[in-house]
Point group: C2
Chain length 253, copies 2
DNA sequence: TCTTGATCCTCACGCGGGGTGAGGATCTAC
DNA sequence: GTAGATCCTCACCCCGCGTGAGGATCAAGA
């Protein structure tokens, strides 16, 4: 019955762990990093925690549940003159971090849901096609900034100026159109494919004339375009290769 | 100009890294864990990546952007008979994970926003009071399951049965009321405090009579309650101590 | 052919927040 | 006295690489 040793304000590490819902190892860790060390030690080296330590642990836990890293918790609890203002700032900063994180998670969720709907909606019997689709979407997401993609999703139809921006938008539309062809497995005999290939050629040359890309990258583009135009419908390997070349041309300005 | 060495289908690690937007170290890492090793090595040991490797890297990157861990990517790409069904399952599983994660993040965001509004709304001049508030909220969140708290937030007024459930709800209400007293710094002379202390006593004894708690825990409760009743308004230390005792009694059934 | 600068290689430690032992000392209850 | 619970200190593990250190090799110009 004297097992409730906290009566005298002395807590062993196990008692404290159980009482606060943390593990003994965690308390060891807090000790190691200097976040919470026992106020006293017995002659044999066992940690004895005081009431003050218990309170500190509760604060640590509370701040931890707000998602703060231990280092920041240490700082926040370390400043003895921690006024309300700094706490407010801390919380607002944390809220900002969390919002940004949530936004990214939301974007990934959207992407996955889009993929799932594509799987369900279109005829996609071969996983190779699925992976090709996935790769193209990923490339598309990487090529444009989120703002550009938002614009793109919102008002894709209204383009007409011959700026590079407009070319990019058209290029994205072409990629999406090509994506659908890949999904549907359109044969090369289809006239829509010929139209698409022509537009692809045009926009491709525009792209590389408008920006300063290397001659080598341009020749690669030409090679690839020619091969693609000849060999429709595409194999996923060709798609992946095209994407790799595009990306390479982009990252070697 | 022959710097575009990928022409012959051979890629050095640096070229591949630049082309795909990853670092050389990441490719080393993928090699270490067996996720992507170069198809060939030169006589001196330099990695030479093939077209196939490039395609595999693109798939790795694509799946990575969906938030999948590298180990799972390896499995997903490793099964040569990866049909659409398993990919669907993979994506759905990942979507579930992300949803759960997002839910937790949302909960933390709500908590922080609640805290910020409390800071702005109430008179909370001393950071000690803020920490005490924070601790009490945290304890409250830990003591009840999310479902219970939802019920609590929704229909707190309608209680009447003498079940343990009802006692818990009343206890939570009392905690919140006490919280407000702490925030407002109500003096002990205020009659509402006397009422509150009486209710607190009653519900406390109910709690410990209804469940099988140890006599020691009960005595600690009694001690603490008495001290609190005598010493109002509370110091944050007393609050923290009370919370510690409660938690201890809970985790030692 | 030599040199030079870029690129490549292999260790190996670091991060955060602890988990999971190993091996031994110490406490507590009977 | 003894047994079982609890305590101590190492020390390595997870993930997805970053960041060097120290040395070998490559590609291109003189």
């Amino acid at each position: 019955m004297t097992e409730t040793s906290g009566a005298a304000g002395q807590w062993s590490i196990g008692e404290l762990a159980k009482a606060c819902g943390v593990t003994v190892r965690a308390l060891h860790h807090y000790d190691e990093i200097g976040l919470l060390s026992a106020g006293r030690r017995t002659a044999s080296g066992h940690r004895r925690y005081t009431e003050e330590d218990v309170r500190r642990l509760y604060r640590i836990r509370s701040l931890q549940m707000l998602g703060l890293p231990l280092a920041e918790i240490g700082v926040a609890l370390g400043t003895p003159a921690d006024d309300i203002g700094s706490l407010r700032t801390l919380l607002e900063r944390q809220l900002l971090h969390l919002s940004q994180h949530a936004e990214q998670v939301q974007a990934v969720q959207d992407r996955i849901r889009d993929l799932l709907s594509r799987i369900d909606g279109a005829t996609m019997p071969v996983p190779e096609q699925f992976m090709a689709t996935l790769e193209m979407i990923t490339m598309l997401e990487n090529y444009f900034t989120p703002e550009q993609r938002q614009e793109l999703a919102g008002r894709r139809a209204e383009l007409g100026s011959d700026s590079i921006e407009a070319a990019k938008v058209r290029w994205a539309a072409l990629v999406e159109e090509g994506l659908k062809h890949v999904e549907n497995g359109t044969r090369v005999s289809d006239p829509s494919i010929r139209e698409w290939a022509t537009a692809w050629d045009e926009i491709g040359s525009m792209f590389h004339a408008g920006e300063e890309t290397k001659a080598a990258a341009r020749s690669m583009w030409q090679d690839n375009k020619t091969a693609l135009s000849a060999d429709l419908p595409w194999t996923p390997e060709q798609l992946a290769g095209l994407m790799a070349y595009l990306q390479k041309a982009r990252t070697q300005p």
